[in-house]
Point group: C2
Chain length 354, copies 2
């Protein structure tokens, strides 16, 4: 490739997603997927989809899907934006809402995609250090900024900040858009702040069906915000890719959204197993952050996070390790089934006594 041609190509460091190992006997606790299948209604709907209609472009409006989501929250359909996974929703939010010379702020330990989107769109950013115990330092977000992004619960720490803290940050930032990324909120006792969009026109709340709805495979996420902000998001989406939600995803998300009962059974089951996992780790001397998520963030004094990660991998158990300052001795472990968690705990015990 010649030099002039090369100069026209973008030069970026991409986000590197977690490993997706394949094969029998693998215990996959590294990407925060739900260990259970989606609602049985999804299975039924899949069999009934008319493939003969797939020649047509998807429904552009997704009215029914928005209505179903709005019924699960006190939100109106015109306050909902839909996307091809919450990653796409967040990416479009960055482009739509962060057009300032001041830095967008997010925690120093957080979802690593935020810096990647900022780099992609040339958005200045800065980080606010978490406290020693990995909780949010709200004052850091009161500085003048070009926008704020906070995942609540945070990842990979798993910790949910109190609603009052989140609201204070939104309140102190009326001149900036504050995005609260609620990918894991259904596993938290704090619950969603979605209803606050009616109080604050600078608030955007993002959620996903990849975790609590067990539908990572169909890619579906959405945002709640004042309808004026939703209109801006839709303009950006229509300037990028008009039809990001395909027909099958729309239909399956509708069915999942209708099945509140199954959803609650899954979430409660994951919360119970999370307690079992936390207790088991505690018995072996691990210190685990109080989790409001479908994963835990844990470490044991004197134990190398990297060594334990490599050991578990050699036993076909995949967890997530971040080779980063402050958290390099921690592991992020997705809450799997009870059986998977028992196998994991058993292997950790073997590691400690090897």
């Amino acid at each position: 490739m010649n030099k002039k041609l090369k100069e026209k190509l973008i030069d970026i460091e991409p986000y590197i997603p977690g490993e997706q190992p394949k094969g029998d006997g693998i215990i996959k606790l590294n990407t925060n997927e739900c260990p259970y299948p989606p609602s049985p209604r999804v299975a039924e709907a899949l069999k009934k989809i008319e493939s003969g209609r797939l020649n047509l472009y998807p429904d552009f409006v997704c009215k029914e899907l928005k209505e179903i989501i709005s019924e699960n929250y006190p939100i109106n359909p015109e306050e909902i934006f839909l996307g091809n996974g919450s990653d796409e929703v967040l990416a479009l939010c960055f482009r739509a809402f962060f057009n300032s010379k001041k830095p967008v702020l997010f925690p120093d330990i957080t979802y690593s995609f935020y810096t990647v989107w900022a780099e992609l769109f040339g958005i200045p950013y800065g980080t606010v250090a978490l406290r020693e115990d990995f909780t949010l330092d709200k004052e850091g977000f009161f500085e003048e900024n070009g926008g704020v992004v906070i995942p609540n619960p945070n990842a990979p720490t798993s910790i949910a900040a109190p609603k009052s803290v989140i609201e204070e940050i939104i309140e102190k930032n009326r001149d900036s858009i504050v995005i609260i990324d609620e990918a894991y909120v259904d596993f938290s006792e704090e619950g969603s702040i979605a209803a606050l969009i009616h109080k604050y026109d600078n608030l955007v709340v993002v959620q996903t069906y990849s975790k609590s709805r067990a539908l990572a495979g169909i890619r579906f996420g959405y945002a709640f915000a004042d309808k004026e902000l939703i209109a801006v998001l839709e303009a950006v989406r229509n300037s990028f890719n008009s039809y990001t939600i395909n027909t099958v995803t729309r239909i399956l998300a509708e069915e999942s959204g209708k099945d509140r009962g199954y959803f609650e059974i899954c979430v409660n089951s994951i919360k119970r197993t999370r307690q079992r996992l936390t207790d088991g780790l505690s018995d072996m001397g691990f210190v685990t952050c109080p989790s409001g998520s479908n994963f835990v963030f844990t470490s044991k004094p004197g134990i190398s996070g990297k060594e334990l990660f490599e050991y578990l991998k050699s036993k076909n158990i995949y967890v997530r390790h971040f080779d980063k300052p402050k958290i390099s001795d921690h592991l992020r472990i997705t809450v799997g089934t009870d059986k998977e968690i028992d196998t994991l705990l058993n292997e950790i015990e073997k590691f400690l006594h090897r």
Copy 2:
């Protein structure tokens, strides 16, 4: 919304997609969808998808799908990039390859999304006027530029430029990326220039399953290019949304890709109906561009394109009209089934004699 907040929002004019009317009795010839269902293999595969696996993130690599596509062309899997419809592929190409202060060039009459992507990413652009007969003026693309985008066949004109003309444009632009958007190429006698990616490291060829594969509903498109360019595209994709192809789309695209026989039957049927449509229009005094696409571009001296468009709409027949200079008296008509085309011709005749 306060002024400081408003200033941080993006200010753009979005692409406006064609109408998606719903209801019985509508003849939809306005968005270039295939009038036939996708391959029967797609229907079978849909029934067999294990919904219980949709809790997992999609396959990141899509090795098998790339292999299937590579078998339909003399292309290697590592020379293929996959996306959520060819619109997403093109959007990511704009971001990946057009990083120059010189203008990106495309025809003045062409797919209206090109200017929208350029605006979204702040890419300077210029247009090269088509000739009087709507054919490509190749010399216009020999000027120094930041990149070139040409749909071949072009839309909404339907005309396919000879391969030799396209190759000459690529050859004269070794310092810029040349994107050839082949959304409609399967309906053209010229055929794809995909194999030229082995000769030119500045060439990107984009295709879609939305037209000739009758799968607009699943959103699937892809690009062919030198593997160095594909790596850049993947880095951009991974900086935007890691998993843009969902599990169901991957599986259904695989099945469609394997069914070469059904694909050829569909394409040949559309070509036959296109001839019937062109002849019927000609009998009524319309002048129709020689089409290499699954649509035609037609006008009749003395007849207002807008009036005919509105008349057909009132009869529940949707075609596309562009309220733009040079083409405001033309209609773009998708090649539907024979029955749909007969109804259309019949209504046009009534319009002429009203």
